[in-house]
């Protein structure tokens, strides 16, 4: 069996383990589910490493390579969050997310092709790694927003709001605050990715910003999350019901993650795609 299939299966098993842990809470299930997730991440990391060795360049030169790296980053960021915050359920969907990304990768052309001259730069490494960590965080915030929106109608009112203090478990009905923290973790990476991209573009193509479709859409992504981060400052002044505001923000996160994916993969389908040097899989 190929490595990619093993990784996919372990992600599925990890997901099931997280659901089991949700029903049967014990220290054992906690460590088993986390252990399985880490195992899946290790397999994914092995895939990325194997691919870079085989290809002889960092694994971001085409969509297939970027996707397996993206899946790996998503798993990595989730593991960090699991260690920092005390929450549950998210792991089940996070591993499904990584699995779906990998599954999408299997549909791509996985031929190793020589890397084009413009991509031979150390800036590329920084640019892609920071972007992928940012995207991964947004993927997790997408998952927490979904859980929040699903749980929200069933949450009992009047119960004490325990917030997101450390040590205590974060309940799904408070996932709006968790989402904000995750986005706040990812946003600096997105910014760094964009800036390093601009610096690299200047070195390779002579201009740090030329309004090519990928650049324009990455700016749109950045603005979408910037709006998300600013709204908590504005909403209190707008006389909107607090719980309604949380729902709006959660929906906004879902939309923003859609924009992320469009920037990442959907641009290939635009008619102007062939003019852009940024877009994967059009050699």
């Amino acid at each position: 069996m190929s490595l990619i299939n093993i990784t996919l299966i372990v992600y599925v098993i990890a997901s099931v383990a997280y659901i089991v842990r949700e029903i049967w809470r014990s220290t054992a299930t906690k460590w088993v589910s986390l252990g399985l997730f880490i195992l899946a991440f290790c397999f994914n990391l092995a895939m990325v490493t194997k691919r870079s060795i085989e290809a002889g360049h960092p694994p971001f030169s085409n969509l297939y390579e970027s996707l397996i790296f993206y899946a790996c980053c998503t798993a990595f960021v989730y593991i960090i969050f699991e260690f920092v915050y005390n929450f549950k359920v998210v792991g089940a969907l996070a591993s499904v997310l990584s699995m779906l990304i990998l599954l999408y990768a299997t549909l791509q052309d996985d031929t190793i092709r020589p890397i084009m001259p413009a991509l031979k730069s150390n800036w590329m490494l920084v640019h892609v790694v920071t972007y992928m960590l940012g995207y991964a965080a947004f993927g997790i915030s997408f998952v927490t927003s979904i859980i929040f929106l699903v749980v929200k109608p069933f949450a009992r009112k009047g119960k004490e709001d325990r917030g997101t203090e450390e040590g205590r478990e974060i309940l799904p009905r408070n996932f709006d605050k968790l989402s904000y923290k995750i986005v706040a973790f990812g946003f600096p990476f997105l910014t760094l990715g964009m800036i390093t991209g601009a610096v690299w573009a200047k070195k390779a193509w002579g201009d740090y910003w030329s309004w090519d479709p990928k650049e324009t859409w990455s700016l749109i992504t950045w603005l979408a999350y910037l709006v998300y981060l600013h709204t908590p400052l504005v909403l209190p002044k707008m006389n909107i019901n607090k719980s309604k505001a949380a729902v709006i923000l959660a929906i906004w996160l879902l939309v923003s993650f859609g924009i992320v994916n469009f920037t990442f993969m959907g641009l290939n389908y635009l008619p102007s795609a062939s003019d852009s040097e940024h877009i994967y899989g059009l050699q």
């Binding site: 052309d109 996985d110 031929t111 092709r113 020589p114 084009m116 001259p117 413009a118 031979k120 730069s121 800036w123 706040a184 973790f185 946003f187 600096p188 910014t191 760094l192 800036i195 601009a198 610096v199 690299w200 200047k202 070195k203 390779a204 193509w205 002579g206 201009d207 740090y208 910003w209 309004w211 324009t216």
Partner: protein
């Protein structure tokens, strides 16, 4: 309408949004907004560092952009190897919305001393194709590793590899049954072999010696009886024209200028002329049957139409548009009915009867039995004919041999397992054809992936006031900077690799924009990582 559209785009600038005036106005507005926000929220505390940095940085970046647009230039120029330039071209939009090139002078000269185009080593890939799913998949080329072609029952194993191979075909006799009778014929002139080769009864059964006006034909008959009736006839086949109309095909003998009525239709056909080699200006007697064609006239109450019909291209008429689309024509038998001045016919039947017939000017001059390895003189010609071998079931044995150890035309030996069992074959990378598995549903192609460029490097020298002031080998990602100009490697001559495409950029806004970049990075890290940490620390201190 067109003018209206042009005016619309000129006024709204919707075809060039990012350089339009209204977009610039939006950018100015956002700049003002940011300044107002920053002033309004100013608290003058250390925790606000990130807030101030990020908001100021965006203003800086926007100012940098304005400086770039106002004072910067961006253009390109192609330089030939060994030549130099002191100008470059910029693209500018005219009032009509068209792109115009404007020549701009450089305050120095750029000389291209050398241009190097480095290519990657050629790579080859093995592509599988499943016809019923119309799906292509690239397979790994790894020796003796069995691979299943995704979502199918086919398994492929590469069992051997030759870096530089050559295909050799050797004729063999597959069996004693006359499935594909063939003879090896030599013609000799003054004891020297002038020509030799295989004639296949069911395939190419003739050889033309154009200089001697001689044709050698090989005819095979299943029985002695049929052979004997063929000995005395000069014509072996007659040229025909087949007409396909109303779902039926009818054949007519190629008789010139006779009108044939097509029964059940309003059409008649007339054959105006025929040639042995279409496009040959010589009289038909001197032509060789390289591209036989017939000119046909279709007569209908609505008018006439003439068409050329080609024997070698039977689908020609079906694929080319014509006036009367419901009638399709084809012709046959012209090549085989062609008679050279001298014809030698080698006849053979399954029961072993072997007869040689000499024909001159359409008359049989001599008939005799023939045997293997015996020479027979052709009358009036300084030529002899000899049959030196006979294969009842002719076939080719393919053999792939190694030419060298360097990568040239690599070949792989593959095993294909599928519904019709195991099938092995050599695949040569240079082959134009796919290799099909016996069920005609699965095919493999071993092909080069196309050349790709590894690097392109320009050795540039900057000459200012007659003196060389800078030298650098530039490549993509590594420009040369001089006097505020940056010179980038951007393209190359795709045909001969003779010129290098350079991009020339001058952007005085860079320091401003880059300080904005730096500030925004520090700013976001401060807001999202340092500030929460400091807050927590403060909180703890308060609690203590």
């Amino acid at each position: 309408m067109n003018i209206l559209r042009n005016t619309f785009f000129r006024i709204t600038q919707l075809n060039n949004i990012f350089h339009s005036y209204w977009f610039s106005v939006l950018l100015v507005l956002i700049c003002t907004n940011l300044i107002c926000c920053t002033i309004k929220r100013w608290r003058n505390t250390f925790l606000q560092t990130g807030f101030i940095l990020t908001h100021l940085s965006i203003i800086l970046i926007l100012i940098g952009g304005v400086v770039k647009l106002q004072l910067g230039v961006k253009g390109s120029v192609n330089v030939y190897k060994g030549k130099s330039v002191d100008y470059f071209l910029t693209q500018e939009l005219t009032r009509q919305g068209k792109i115009d090139y404007v020549k701009r002078d450089l305050p120095f000269t750029i000389a291209l001393d050398d241009f190097i185009l480095e290519k990657n080593e050629p790579k080859f890939q093995l592509v599988s194709y499943i016809k019923e799913k119309d799906r292509q998949k690239i397979l790994e080329i790894k020796l003796s590793k069995k691979q299943r072609v995704a979502s199918s029952d086919y398994k492929v194993t590469v069992t051997d590899y030759i870096p530089d191979a050559e295909l050799r075909q050797e004729p063999v006799n597959a069996s004693d049954k006359p499935d594909n009778p063939a003879i090896f014929v030599k013609t000799l002139g003054s004891e020297k072999v002038t020509a030799e080769g295989w004639l296949l009864a069911n395939d190419r059964n003739y050889y033309d010696d154009k200089k001697q006006n001689l044709r050698i034909e090989y005819l095979w008959f299943p029985s002695q009886h049929e052979l004997e009736s063929a000995i005395s006839s000069v014509e072996t086949s007659s040229p025909k024209v087949s007409v396909f109309v109303l779902g039926q095909t009818k054949e007519y003998p190629l008789e010139l200028n006779k009108i044939f009525k097509l029964e059940g239709t309003g059409y008649s056909v007339r054959f105006l002329q025929y040639v042995l080699n279409y496009g040959d200006r010589r009289p038909i007697e001197e032509q060789l049957p390289d591209n036989p064609a017939v000119q046909v006239e279709l007569i209908s109450p609505e008018g006439e139409e003439t068409r050329w019909v080609f024997e070698r291209f039977p689908d020609w008429d079906k694929m080319h548009p014509s006036k009367y689309k419901d009638v399709k024509l084809a012709c046959s038998g012209i090549t085989s009915s062609y008679m050279a001045k001298n014809t030698v016919r080698i006849l053979q039947s399954e029961d072993g009867k072997q007869v040689l017939v000499f024909i001159k000017d359409r008359h049989i001059v001599e008939t005799m039995p023939w045997e293997l390895e015996k020479k027979y003189s052709i009358r009036d010609l300084d030529r002899q004919v000899m049959v030196s071998n006979y294969f009842p079931s002719f076939d080719f044995k393919k053999d792939v041999v190694k030419k060298s150890d360097k990568i040239g035309t690599p070949a792989i030996y593959v095993d294909i397992e599928g519904p019709s069992g195991k099938y092995t074959e050599w695949l040569l990378s240079g082959s134009q054809y796919a290799t099909w598995y016996p069920d005609n549903n699965f095919a493999l192609v071993y092909e080069p992936t196309g050349e790709s460029i590894k690097h392109f490097i320009s050795n540039l020298r900057i000459v200012d006031n007659g003196q060389t002031v800078a030298e650098k080998a530039i490549k993509v990602n590594d420009p040369l900077k001089y006097k505020g100009y940056a010179i980038y490697q951007s393209s190359y001559d795709p045909e001969a690799g003779n010129f290098s495409g350079l991009q020339i950029v001058k952007d005085p806004g860079i320091p401003i924009a880059y300080s904005g970049f730096g500030a925004i990075c520090v700013g976001v890290v401060f807001i999202f990582y340092i500030k929460p940490f400091l807050r927590k620390k403060q909180k703890k201190e308060v609690e203590v």
